[in-house]
């Protein structure tokens, strides 16, 4: 079997399995339908007092942005990435606790495919979250300023592709880790603080900006905000999209390396401990 086919089979199997496990219950379907709307409502009413017509000049940037929309996009991006963090934790915990981690290690399945598939199952939730924010804000009066309907798709991809890469990396980090909840707890504040969720990254000291530049969410927001808020054209965010592609590629590569090393450690230390 070719490496590509092996990868695709593993990714598909994992994505389908994760989706069935999550969406197979009526309560989960209802929750997944409602929670993104709640996320939007929380973000909306938090920023509603601000005057949407007031534009804020962002220091170090030539652009002026509507503050509520700036924050809404920030929260949208954070929620998408946060859900992938949780999904990776849930999967790692379930495979370890349920006794299936060793079965995955026992199988000849393409490991990178399993990671990507695990992360890909979260894309449906991410898309629904995006739609909830997009439609909700437009319906409630803070209209998005897009140059072209296609910009909505590009902004979605600017969130989803790096999110998939980030989710894959998380799956690689967490699948063989003890105490996944500790890693998740440690990861969330930096993700929110460094990626420009609530304020522009260039307010941070230089060395923190350097760290922020390594996070895919930083670049997702830098590409999605102009597209959704400033009616930017594709060429206006070409640099951001290019960097986004590079950061995403780096996440995928790092995920494969980390997973390979983590599995080797598990094999050496016998830490799967299931049977």
């Amino acid at each position: 079997m070719s490496a590509l086919r092996s990868f695709l089979m593993a990714a598909r199997a994992e994505a389908v399995k994760e989706a069935r496990l999550h969406w197979g219950r009526g309560t989960n379907v209802v929750l997944e339908a409602v929670v993104p709307i709640l996320h939007f409502a929380i973000a909306w009413y938090m920023f509603a007092p601000f005057d949407a017509s007031e534009h804020v000049r962002v220091t170090g940037s030539s652009r002026e942005e509507a503050l509520p929309l700036f924050l809404l996009v920030g929260f949208l991006g954070f929620y998408v990435f946060q859900r992938l963090l949780w999904a990776a934790m849930e999967r790692a915990y379930r495979e370890r606790d349920g006794g299936t981690l060793e079965l995955l290690m026992l199988s000849p399945a393409n490991r990178f495919g399993l990671l990507v598939g695990g992360a890909a199952s979260g894309m449906v939730r991410a898309t629904w979250l995006y739609l909830a924010f997009l439609v909700g804000s437009a319906a409630l009066g803070h209209g998005w300023r897009v140059a072209h309907p296609g910009a909505v798709i590009v902004a979605l991809l600017a969130l989803l592709v790096p999110a998939l890469a980030f989710g894959t990396l998380l799956q690689g980090f967490l699948m063989h880790a003890f105490d996944t909840s500790a890693y998740v707890t440690l990861s969330q504040p930096p993700l929110s603080f460094l990626s420009g969720v609530r304020f522009p990254v260039h307010y941070l000291p230089g060395w923190l900006q350097a760290i922020a530049a390594l996070l895919p969410l930083t670049w997702s927001l830098r590409a999605a905000r102009p597209l959704l808020v400033e009616a930017a054209l594709l060429r206006d965010v070409g640099r951001e999209l290019g960097v986004l592609a590079l950061v995403s590629a780096a996440c995928f590569v790092l995920a494969a390396v980390v997973d390979r090393r983590a599995e080797a450690m598990t094999r050496r230390d016998g830490t799967a401990m299931l049977y």
Binding site: G98, G99, L103, R267
Partner: protein, 324 residues
């Protein structure tokens, strides 16, 4: 053929977390183990808890990396060629875990089949075949969380066979199962070995199961093979007292003294009241059943039952337990 030569594995307990991981003193799990597992036969691994059975199986199945020594599956090294070994092997463990409870049986088998590169009609056919084999066809569309323990274990068996493994590791496969399900599993195991040429490694605490299934048995103690052979050979090599039990009517006076004077010295004799008479137990280095029954008959007592208890593999385990 699976061949292990000088396999060693130690574990170190982790006492810290995150940045401050500390390792305790190494604990030897497997210590220079040699083992051959042929195709088409069932090889038993016997030993007390912690003897190193599961660690051995995991090393042979590529789940653990040996510290030293070498193991190969059909000539493929389990460390260096692990990716080529994995399609050839599978494992079934006792217990109810290792399945996705929110998926149906069919979905579980579909998923694991995909992991082994099966797809399309071939996978569908294989799933049907396995569901039939483990008698779960009627419940194939039900979520596994609604299954009984026995049904889950049967699904485990189907899962372990999905890739038609050339070698199958059964780690306590009938643990906690009721008699009919355990019997069915044993029949499947026999069939796999005899008819399909599968090489099977079995660990079990059920000595009757080991005796019934295993063509060859290796006894592990503290990570080393201490004895091996067929069940009959292992039992023949046991140095245990032979036990005779005779149930007689009433409580014939003088019978015990007659037995003591007639039987060779060193025979331990105990009596216990029974609802139908008296149960006489005799323990001796050799079988004294015939001589004892003759003495009882000569004294005019009526023998209701007489039995000679053969040494069993359980005695072997008891000996190991006594020496550890």
């Amino acid at each position: 053929m699976i061949r292990a030569e000088g396999l060693c594995k130690s574990f170190r307990a982790r006492t810290g977390r995150l940045l401050w991981v500390r390792h305790g003193a190494p604990k030897v799990a497997v210590d220079g183990l040699d083992l051959d597992v042929p195709e088409g036969a069932v090889t038993g691994l016997l030993g007390l808890n912690g003897a190193g059975k599961s660690t051995t199986i995991k090393m042979l199945a590529t789940l653990l990396e040996p510290d030293s020594g070498r193991a190969s599956v059909d000539g493929l090294d389990v460390v260096r060629d692990a990716a080529r070994v994995r399609p050839l092997v599978n494992m079934i463990a006792g217990g109810e875990r290792s399945l996705y409870l929110r998926l149906t049986a069919r979905e579980n088998l579909w998923y694991f089949g995909q992991l082994y590169g099966l797809s399309g009609g071939a996978l569908d056919d294989r799933i049907d075949e396995l569901l039939e084999l483990v008698d779960l066809r009627a419940a194939a569309g039900d979520r596994v969380e609604t299954y009984s323990k026995g049904m889950r274990q049967r699904l485990q068996i189907a899962r372990g066979l999905v890739n038609r493994p050339r070698y199958l590791f059964l780690d306590e496969p009938t643990l906690g199962l009721d008699v009919p399900v355990a019997r069915r599993l044993r029949a499947v195991t026999r069939q796999l070995a005899r008819e399909q040429g599968c090489g099977i490694v079995l660990t079990s605490h059920d000595m009757a199961e080991v005796e019934e299934l295993c063509d060859h048995i290796s006894v592990i103690d503290r990570g080393r093979i201490v004895r091996e052979g067929t069940a009959a050979q292992l039992k023949a090599g046991l140095v245990v007292e032979r036990l005779t039990r005779i149930l007689v009517t009433g409580n014939p006076e003088g019978l015990i003294d007659a037995l003591r004077s007639s039987l060779p010295p060193g025979v331990r004799i105990e009596t216990a009241p029974d609802e139908r008479g008296t149960l006489i137990s005799l323990a001796a280095p050799d079988d004294v059943t015939g001589a004892a029954v003759a003495v009882v008959a000569a004294r005019g007592a009526h023998v209701l039952r007489a039995e000679s208890v053969e040494p069993s593999l359980a005695d072997l385990m008891l000996q190991l337990g006594g020496s550890s």
